[in-house]
């Protein structure tokens, strides 16, 4: 039960291992143990567990991680399709600032 996994092979997470210095900041902020430490840098050990929250890319001081972050919420996606900018819970699907890419509208 601890390892609930959503759909496979959809996540947009990218790690540039050349830029990574192994500071382990991403390990600290990731809520799903997506990364693990290799000898000198981190590697992605569980890509499908990623929920694209964007915590790792925002907190990477070396810009080694990119992900199209956003809130995985169907109601928010529907709202954006309907042209409303936020659902009742206040979540909009686009993350507030600059991850490397913006999670924009689908379709």
């Amino acid at each position: 039960m601890k390892n609930l996994i959503y759909l496979k092979n959809v996540v947009t997470l990218q790690l540039d291992e050349n830029k990574c210095t192994g500071c382990e900041m991403c390990l600290e902020v990731c809520p799903h143990e997506v990364f693990k430490m290799n000898s000198s840098h981190v590697v992605i050990q569980n890509r499908d567990a990623c929920m694209e929250c964007g915590a790792c890319s925002r907190n990477c001081p070396f810009d080694a991680i990119s992900v199209e972050s956003g809130v995985g919420c169907a109601a928010a996606v529907i709202n954006s399709l309907l042209g409303r900018d936020a659902s009742e819970c206040g979540c909009s699907i686009e993350a507030g600032g600059s991850s490397n890419k913006q999670g924009g509208c689908c379709c």
């Binding site: 601890k2 567990a49 907190n59 995985g72 169907a74 600032g97």
Partner: protein, 386 residues
């Protein structure tokens, strides 16, 4: 609302070398005005004299109003306006060495934080997240670097504590770039545990998290508390559609209007209710044990099973044409609704990605719409041909 909150540009003294283009307002204001949260808020016990002025003092003990407020918010009553004033609060009797916790100005976030810190003296820095919880606000960016840096200034925190450490909930990390906060404000961000209940252990371990504290789970209890809000959301359209179904059930059919309405119309209402229970109650409860990965499929499966049980209980005569058509209608409608409701639970879950939700919705939404429309048309048709 506290009128110190009606700020214009005055609090924006510091310049943001990195996020300068984001900082709205005039940068001309010279002296950062200290903004003190309202002292007349229901949960404030007293004041504490700090260099920034008299700050509101709160305790870790929740009052009945707090508990009642949480209860109401769980049912969606006043939930969008359930806020505390942003700014700095004292938890019991902190001094200049006490730890500083950062949280959102959703009242439930604030309450859950202080509730877990009995017997601890600390400062609580509340960011203005427009009444949204830490996780959603971080995703949105309102629980973010800019607001944090600004709030450090406007709260006068630098004069109040001698250290330069902030404890943030780990779930605030999507909005906050720790290295940039350090660069601008000099404060080092420590990401604490995901759950406030782990805070005492975290503090006692010298601000060290264990792997357990950092992993987001979704246990039964956390899923269950989300059910009321899901049901309330589904109930509104349900109440609108109930009389329509009742009337449609009365039209056509073998017997008189009222006999038909109570037979077919009432069953239709019952079927809708079943769809809501399957999608908004059973689905969250059984989430980890249901087959399929996509939430809409989980909901569809549940709705299908519910329909079969429902039709069995109704004892429909499948040998007649109308019986078969009516059954077909419900096999289309009920799973479509429960599938849609289950899909909406992705927003509450703690492990769905936006890419995944979009992938799922691309086929699920047209499918749900088509099934619901076809089913409804079939049912209305079956009412008219007999």
């Amino acid at each position: 609302m506290n009128n110190t909150e009606k700020r214009s540009c005055s609090e924006n003294k510091i310049s943001f070398p990195i996020i300068a283009e984001d900082s709205i307002c005039c940068s001309a204001a010279t002296e950062a005005q200290i903004i003190i949260p309202g002292l007349d808020q229901q949960f404030v016990d007293g004041t504490i004299n700090a260099s920034a002025g008299n700050l509101p003092q709160v305790s870790s003990k929740l009052k009945w109003q707090d508990i009642w407020g949480t209860f109401k918010a769980r049912f969606g009553v006043g939930r969008m306006d359930y806020t505390v004033d942003p700014g700095l609060y004292a938890l019991d009797n902190p001094d200049n060495n006490s730890p500083v916790f950062v949280t959102a100005n959703y009242k439930m976030s604030f309450d859950y934080l202080r509730r877990e810190l009995p017997g601890r003296n600390a400062w609580i820095l509340v960011l203005d997240t427009k009444g949204i919880n830490v996780w959603c606000a971080a995703g949105k960016g309102t629980f973010g670097t800019e607001e944090l840096v600004r709030r450090i200034e406007s709260s006068g925190l630098k004069k109040i504590v001698s250290h330069r450490k902030l404890i943030l909930p780990q779930l605030g990390a999507p909005g906050v770039a720790a290295h940039i906060v350090k660069q601008i404000s000099g404060f080092k961000v420590y990401y604490g545990p995901i759950r406030a209940q782990d805070l005492p252990e975290y503090l006692d371990a010298g601000m060290k998290t264990t792997p357990q504290m950092r992993i987001m789970t979704f246990p039964l209890k956390e899923r269950a508390v989300l059910i009321p809000i899901e049901v309330m959301a589904a109930l509104k359209p349900f109440l609108i559609i109930t009389p329509i179904l009742f009337i449609l059930g009365g039209i056509g059919g073998p017997a008189g209007f009222w006999a038909n309405a109570f037979n077919y119309g009432l069953f239709a209402v019952l079927a809708f209710l079943c769809a809501i229970i399957a999608g908004a109650v059973i689905h969250p409860l059984l989430l980890p044990y249901l087959p399929f990965r996509a939430f809409s499929m989980k909901g569809f499966a549940l709705g299908f099973v519910a329909t079969i049980i429902l039709l069995y209980l109704r004892n429909i005569n499948l040998h007649t044409g109308t019986g078969r058509i009516e059954s077909l209608a419900w096999i289309l409608i009920v799973p479509a609704i429960s599938s849609y409701l289950a899909m909406n639970f992705t927003g509450c879950s703690t492990y769905t990605s936006l890419s995944g939700v979009k992938r799922e919705m691309r086929w699920a939404l047209p499918f749900q719409l088509a099934a619901a429309v076809c089913g409804l048309a079939t049912w209305i048709g079956s009412r008219l041909i007999t």
